[in-house]
């Protein structure tokens, strides 16, 4: 028996259950019958937006052009402890960069990959030209290409009759008058179409229509300005929104603006204000911890990560960061416990096994070391990861005094990632021990080349 149900109700129910494809198809059917059904139209925009939605707080990659053409910097050299771009000013008594490795940009390596940490590791131009620009390997070259990685999928959605909404023919002023439609439409333009200019126009018109009383529109305006690089304007909008209504997201957005302006102290202050309003909020605590970590103030960062774990003991980032911190402060046994916890929680990847292997080695549990690295190798998803594991295996080999094996391991690291500067360095050291000066010169030449490359970028 087939029971007739209202198609709009069904679409609404599918939307609730996040079956967006079905929902959008049903809405298309409704719209074919009655093209002016606003409810179906709005539901379809929402479904299409949800398919490609990425939390804007998490989207952050600075392109090479932004770094080159930074007009916001006041001083060329910031005072110590006030900038994220001045590495090597450790104040928290953490391990020195000689012990704890740093990224190419000079920040200490964190225990967790997040969008902003990738910006410190820009690929070279050669690589960018050579590598295929798929969604997986896209690296920021300039602000225009490969930046919002997941948003790229929007263009892949094939709609047989062209795009769902033709933005150029949209009378934005008319839609700004309809507050119940305009918010969904804005999100569609911003997230699905990735058309910041039109989104900004709609937001500007709407906030005017709302007589500047709707904080939501101000936040959206701020998001648009941020994407366009107008940081001071974005800051103004976010601040104005916060005056009306305290929201966690607004605090996070404003923090992002300050970080982009390289004002970590202002960002920290703001997040602490946010914690007064929303005590024990995990995202704010994490934000503080991340900034401290980037400022090389590892002690404070760990304190805040521990606070995060008190609120949410399944927080993978906090566990990983505390674990790596213990590792670099010569407590591999404790780090091992944190990583084991991650394993128990179901994190199952190359990096985790790699770290487990290292911890086992330094904690003198040799029986587990090689099997962990073996697993890491079998789980590696790309060449960079394989290279890192071989590099670490090389260290283990040095540790057990097998310089032949170490040599092979470093070579394999280079075979998988030819700009692995540390591997070049260690190979040169190994050659030096053997007394082969020619080879040393060869490897240090490579090393110098790599260093120059990153300096240039």
């Amino acid at each position: 028996m087939v029971l007739d149900m209202d198609p709009l109700f069904l679409a609404w129910s599918y939307f609730r259950r996040r079956k967006f494809q079905t929902c959008s198809e049903l809405c298309s059917e409704i719209l074919e019958k009655s093209p002016y059904d606003q409810a179906a139209w709005s539901l379809k925009t929402r479904a299409l937006t949800e398919i490609v939605y990425v939390d804007e707080v998490d989207v952050d990659q600075e392109g090479i052009a932004e770094m080159m053409l930074d007009d916001h910097a006041i001083a060329q050299v910031a005072r110590p402890g006030t900038s994220l771009k001045l590495p090597g000013t450790s104040q928290g008594g953490g391990p020195s960069p000689a012990v704890r490795p740093v990224t190419h940009a000079g920040r200490p390596i964190t225990g967790f990959v997040r969008p902003s940490t990738q910006s410190g590791r820009p690929g070279t131009m050669e690589q960018a030209i050579k590598t295929p620009r798929t969604a997986h390997t896209a690296r920021p070259v300039s602000s225009a290409s490969g930046r919002y990685v997941r948003l790229g999928t929007a263009s892949m959605l094939t709609s047989p009759d062209g795009p769902f909404i033709n933005l150029s023919r949209l009378n934005l002023a008319k839609y700004a008058q309809k507050p119940n439609l305009s918010k969904a439409l804005f999100e569609y333009i911003f997230h699905h179409e990735n058309d910041v200019k039109n989104a900004l126009e709609l937001a500007a018109l709407s906030t005017e229509h709302a007589q500047f009383k709707d904080w939501w529109w101000k936040v959206q305006l701020g998001k648009c300005y941020y994407r366009l690089g107008l940081l001071r304007e974005a800051e103004k909008q976010f601040k104005s929104a916060l005056k009306q209504q305290d929201m966690v997201d607004t605090f996070l957005f404003l923090t992002k603006v300050y970080i982009r302006l390289d004002q970590p102290l202002a960002a920290l202050n703001l997040l602490k204000q946010g914690l007064d309003v929303f005590p024990r909020e995990v995202t704010l605590l994490t934000g503080i911890a991340r900034i401290y970590e980037e400022m090389n103030n590892i002690t404070s960062a760990t304190e805040y990560y521990k606070e995060v774990l008190k609120q949410d003991n399944t927080h993978v980032e906090a566990i990983a960061c505390i674990g790596s911190n213990h590792f670099y402060t010569d407590q591999p046994e404790i780090a091992l416990r944190f990583y084991r916890r991650l394993l128990q929680m179901g994190v199952y990847n190359c990096q985790l096994y790699n770290n487990l292997g290292l911890c086992c080695f330094y904690a003198q549990q040799y029986d587990m070391t090689l099997s962990s690295f073996e697993r890491a190798l079998s789980l590696a998803a790309n060449d960079e990861e394989v290279a890192d594991v071989w590099y670490n295996l090389g260290h283990v080999a040095i540790g057990i005094g097998d310089s032949n094996l170490a040599y092979q391991c470093f070579k394999l690291a280079l075979a998988n990632n030819n700009d692995h500067a540390e591997a070049y360095n260690n190979l040169a050291v190994l050659e030096l021990r053997k007394g082969r000066i020619e080879q040393v010169r060869f490897f240090s030449g490579y090393l110098y080349g790599i260093l120059c490359m990153f300096r240039l970028n």
């Binding site: 029971l3 609404w12 129910s13 918010k183 770290n355 590696a380 590099y391 040095i398 050291v429």
Partner: protein, 726 residues
């Protein structure tokens, strides 16, 4: 990501392909048994109404038939069910089912049988209301503070609230600014309705305001459920939350004030009864349903939140207390018993296809398949299987050809057999008794002919290209062995009288090597151009950044040209890459053939053949860093130094432990010839390291990385520096 897994206490799989949503689950003592045992009531979009009374003897047991009290199919789909005192004159609980165009109220009663499974349950229709608009959801409660009665309010898809006071319709009201329906809830403490509208704000409407907003003219109309426009309806308070909501719940404890809980798409809000926010929590996952309930600790409230990552989380205010993995995405949650509706099951059969890339004969017809997958419960599994494809896929029969450059002769020690018996799938049935020649045409177009001698026990394989003989020769030898094994002959042996056709083999090696040199050349050129490109780009960027505009001095033309050069070089490198890939396949075929001939020639045993194969075929694919030539050279040299060495002087020979692209192939060719020579003189390979010669480590080839689904969160590999940095 959780340490824990939720243990199932009781479960029932409902129907087939049925759909459920938020409102389809309800818990109540519906048959008014008075024993305080709550029943689970479930309605589905297909119109099935089921009532369960779970009593498992031990946890984790599946449903037994006695647990199901009732299953009926109604004429309309059920979109929501509620339980309350819906019938006038009695305070017994009744069941209200909301259909798209109808509201029906049933009474459920049980008649006890003599044994447990003899119990009978009946569903009796008490009354029904036909609706003029499509319903979306409903809420019930003692509206206006009535005692001992529950009224029902239905929200339609187009934003009308319809109120029913038990058997009679009272009034209906348009919600202002309506577009799509949001969740609806009733707060008995303040006698108000709370919803989240399309404006993305929480709106609170007093029942009083809703009722009074009607004026006299409209009352007559509203009797027939027409819209009562009346006075402009305004909300008691609103709170902008900036997102749509999944659900609203109201929790009022005896002492404390009541709180409104709103589960948004991205955040979780707790709002005081006057519209001020008490707290909010940003959710880093997509929630599917939630249920707040009073906590044991005074002043705090626990919430259960289910999400689309199959997790059930328990929060105490904003602190996560417990998290557990569920087998499915929950749609609805109720305390006392948690029920989760199932998604479709997954099958575990994998179909795969094998494609022949390009028109080149493959070097091997076999393969391994390994599938690694994660089951619905998150357990990683691996399944493996080997397969061999039939020869017919890569070649077809053609008439045999006579004079061709490459030929191999295989001897056997048994009387000659007809090729028709050996290749029945390539020879049509003919009158002739003996077939002495068969032609094969490979997919690459080259022809191979097999000739059987009429008198002796010899067979000749001849073809235009050396490496293409491999597949046929291998097939012939294998089929011979099978044929004679079927006949019961045990001492059958193929042999090859030699000499090994090394010249042809070396030619193929040289061709492969030349392409590798080319690849390196392109690589260097490309790197050079890329550096140039970046240099130009840097200059351009600085020029653009300059406050005073300066002429570009044709830098743009230069950049354009360099870019084009990079593209052209890239294309050429790609072309070379595919040629290299083909050459490597050829090389593999030729190597296989070479090894087979070596085996037949010296009648090597399995162990020897395995060592030879490991020596000559170490790589699945060669890369610019580690290629076939240097690997094989290192391995062959090792054999020459250890087990095939003639004198202790040779053992002492030192060799570089570094594998690098050699300048030419002279050394390799010399070593291979030497290996053949020594083996011809009776030398045999073995792996036990006699002598004290250091064994160079030959690293295994790069394994192909499989694509795997990985968790979004990843710990970064930590790197550690060398101690001696200068």
């Amino acid at each position: 990501m959780s340490l824990f897994k939720a243990r199932e206490w009781w479960s029932a799989t409902l129907g087939h392909d049925e759909e459920f949503d938020q409102g389809c689950l309800c818990i109540a003592d519906i048959d008014n048994s008075g024993k305080g045992q709550d029943k689970i009531i479930v309605g589905s979009y297909k119109g099935f109404l089921r009532i369960f009374s779970p009593r498992p003897s031990k946890p984790g047991e599946s449903m037994v038939p006695q647990d199901q009290m009732l299953e009926v199919q109604l004429k309309d789909s059920i979109i929501q069910i509620e339980v309350g005192k819906y019938v006038s004159g009695t305070e017994l609980l009744h069941l209200a089912a909301l259909h798209p165009r109808k509201l029906t109220v049933f009474s459920v009663s049980g008649i006890a049988g003599t044994v447990e499974h003899g119990n009978q349950y009946q569903l009796r229709l008490v009354y029904e209301h036909n609706l003029q608009r499509t319903a979306c959801n409903m809420v019930s409660g003692p509206f206006g503070g009535v005692k001992g009665r529950d009224f029902i309010c239905i929200q339609s898809m187009d934003g009308i609230l319809m109120f029913f006071e038990q058997e009679s319709f009272s009034f209906s009201r348009f919600l202002p600014g309506f577009l799509l329906p949001g969740p609806l809830s009733y707060n008995p403490r303040t006698d108000a309705f709370i919803t989240v509208s399309s404006l993305r704000q929480v709106e609170n409407y007093k029942y009083q305001t809703l009722a009074v907003a009607t004026d006299v003219d409209c009352r007559a109309e509203s009797e027939q459920q027409k819209l009562g426009s009346g006075k402009r309806l305004t909300a008691d308070w609103t709170l902008m939350i900036g997102e749509q909501a999944m659900d609203i719940c109201i929790l009022s404890s005896a002492q404390a004030a009541s709180f409104v809980f709103v589960l948004g798409e991205r955040n979780f809000f707790c709002i005081k009864a006057n519209g001020q926010m008490r707290f909010m929590k940003k959710l880093e996952y997509n929630p599917s349903c939630f249920l707040p309930y009073a906590s044991v600790i005074e002043g705090t409230i626990n919430s259960l939140v289910g999400n689309h990552n199959n997790m059930l989380l328990v929060y105490q205010d904003v602190t996560l207390r417990w998290a557990a993995q569920l087998p499915h995405v929950p749609v609805a949650l109720r305390v006392v018993l948690y029920c989760f509706f199932l998604g479709p099951g997954s099958s575990s059969a994998v179909t795969f296809h094998v494609f022949l890339a390009g028109s080149l004969s493959p070097a091997e017809l076999g393969g391994d398949v390994a599938v690694s997958y994660t089951t619905a419960t998150g357990v990683p599994r691996v399944a493996q299987c080997k397969f061999i494809l039939p020869l017919k896929l890569v070649c077809s029969p053609t008439p045999p050809s006579k004079s061709v450059p490459c030929r191999i002769t295989i001897d056997t020690n048994k009387p000659p057999v007809s090729l028709q018996d050996i290749f029945p799938d390539f020879v049509e049935k003919t009158e002739e008794e003996q077939v002495h020649a068969i032609g094969f045409q490979l997919v690459s177009g080259s022809r191979v002919t097999v000739l059987a001698s009429k008198t002796s026990q010899r067979y000749r394989i001849q073809g235009e290209v050396f490496e293409d003989l491999w597949l046929i020769t291998k097939e012939l030898v294998e089929r011979f062995e099978k044929h004679f094994a079927n006949q019961g002959a045990k001492d059958f042996q193929c042999s090859f009288t030699g000499p090994i056709p090394l010249a042809e083999y070396f030619e193929i090696i040289d061709r492969h090597f030349e392409l590798r040199l080319n690849a390196e050349k392109y690589q260097n050129l490309l790197a050079e151009r890329a550096v140039q490109f970046r240099a130009i780009q840097r200059r351009l960027l600085t020029r653009f950044k300059d406050k005073t505009p300066a002429p570009l001095q044709n830098l743009d033309t230069l950049m354009d040209a360099t870019y084009r050069q990079v593209i052209v070089l890239g294309d050429a490198a790609e072309e070379n890459e595919s040629a290299l890939c083909q050459a490597f396949t050829r090389l593999k075929s030729a190597t296989h053939l070479f090894l087979l001939l070596l085996r037949l020639w010296q009648s090597l045993n399995k162990e020897q053949t395995d060592i030879l194969e490991a020596t000559f075929l170490p790589l699945l694919q060669d890369t610019s860093q580690l290629g076939w030539e240097e690997c094989v050279d290192a391995a062959v040299t090792h054999h020459l130094r250890t087990c095939l060495s003639r004198s202790p002087k040779e053992q002492a020979l030192n060799l570089t432990s570094q594998l690098a692209l050699p300048r030419d192939t002279v050394r390799l060719r010399k070593h291979i010839s030497l290996l053949c020579d020594r083996m011809a003189k009776g030398g045999r390979l073995c792996l036990s390291a006699e002598g004290s010669a250091p064994i160079p480590v030959i690293m295994p080839g790069m394994c192909d990385t499989e694509s795997r689904s990985r968790g979004s969160a990843g710990a970064k590999p930590s790197q550690h520096r060398a101690q001696g940095r200068n």
